[in-house]
């Protein structure tokens, strides 16, 4: 049988996978294990990418998100299991940042640009703006409000899915619903990650 490009690529990715798994086998420190698993995720995305079609790109996104989501939950469990969750972490204690108007302006620019971009990337950029603002000001009081926004965006996305499936003639409405849903979702989730520093009630 001829060795096609696909098989050569698969050989490389599987070799990377074996190296990563052996590293995981030999590592005993919990934090290092968590970091190594992030590395192990890459070969699985590589195998999907070898498909080389538009479908592959669409499958990588869920694969990536699953890895990030579980990593986030596990790192919170790690903090609690090690008993270091109550360490005080303040924002950026730089006088220029916490007093001047510059962080507000930069955050607003990032958020507006993110909304213009929309979709996954836009959500990332807008979320970065919010994270930067919270880091500069150390504000934490709107945690539950952001959680609610996250739930709403999830519901919006599910609603868009059912419009696509049941009423396909309204595809434009569904597309906009899904696009706004993903923008909100990524923004809010990034903001929540940015807020999860130290204790909530300070």
């Amino acid at each position: 049988m001829i060795w096609q490009e696909y098989s050569v690529g698969l050989l490389v990715v599987l070799a990377c996978g074996i190296v990563a798994f052996v590293a995981l086998l030999l590592e005993w420190d919990d934090l290092h294990r968590l970091l190594l698993i992030d590395l192990v995720e890459i070969p699985s995305l590589g195998v999907i990418a070898l498909l080389g079609t538009d479908l592959a790109e669409a499958l990588i996104l869920p694969g990536l998100v699953v890895g990030i989501a579980e990593l986030l939950a596990l790192s919170q469990i790690y903090l609690h299991k090690e008993g270091i969750a109550d360490r005080k972490v303040s924002g950026l204690n730089i006088e220029v940042i916490s007093k001047a108007d510059a962080p507000v302006i930069i955050s607003v620019i990032l958020i507006v640009y993110g909304i213009v971009l929309s979709g996954f990337t836009g959500g990332g950029i807008a979320g970065l703006g919010i994270v930067f603002f919270f880091m500069a000001r150390g504000a934490k009081e709107h945690f539950s409000l952001l959680e609610m926004a996250s739930g709403v965006s999830w519901a919006l996305w599910i609603a868009a899915f059912f419009v696509f499936m049941v009423l396909p003639q309204y595809w434009f409405l569904a597309l906009m619903g899904a696009a706004i849903g993903i923008l909100l979702k990524v923004t809010v989730k990034m903001a929540l990650v940015g807020m999860m520093w130290g204790r909530p009630d300070e």
Partner: protein, 148 residues
């Protein structure tokens, strides 16, 4: 006797991850030995790249609000598949007509083949994926808000 020893090793949760990682490494090694695997040429959603298009490499195959043919698994289940692929927001339509460098930023805008697959033809995947994210965040924020 041997069963007792195995269950002794398994009962220590520190051992489970190395065991599983070792298993994965062995199966991957078997996979390397079983190469080459044949690539099936008649794939769904084949990728075509038009270097001359201003939307390269994500050319959508037509102006907005026209339907293009998409090679999906069950075309009869998605009668409007193809509309989302060609859609461009007014802003990105303007950019696409004025510059040749819109390139990959186009992925971020609503519309396009990736959105078509993610939201429309394979929409159920995208329902499960934010649910995983939702559950993971629920765990993280529950632990975060609880008194230590």
């Amino acid at each position: 006797m041997i069963i007792r020893r195995i269950s002794d090793v398994l009962s220590n949760y520190e051992n489970i991850l190395p065991l599983f990682a070792g298993g994965c490494a062995i199966v991957f090694l078997i996979g390397v030995l079983l190469l080459p695997l044949p690539y099936y040429d008649d794939q769904l959603y084949p990728k075509t790249i038009d270097r001359n298009s201003s939307l390269d490499p994500y050319d959508r195959g037509g102006p907005p609000f026209t339907q293009v043919v998409i090679k999906s698994q069950y075309p009869e289940n998605s009668p409007t598949a193809g509309y989302v692929t060609t859609y461009l927001t007014p802003f990105s339509w303007f950019l696409a007509n004025t510059t040749h460098h819109l390139g990959t930023t186009i992925v971020a805008h609503p519309g396009g083949i990736i959105d078509e697959i993610l939201y429309n033809t394979r929409g159920l995947d995208t329902v499960v994926e934010p649910t995983i994210l939702f559950i993971a965040f629920a765990i993280a924020s529950f632990l975060f808000r609880r008194e230590p």
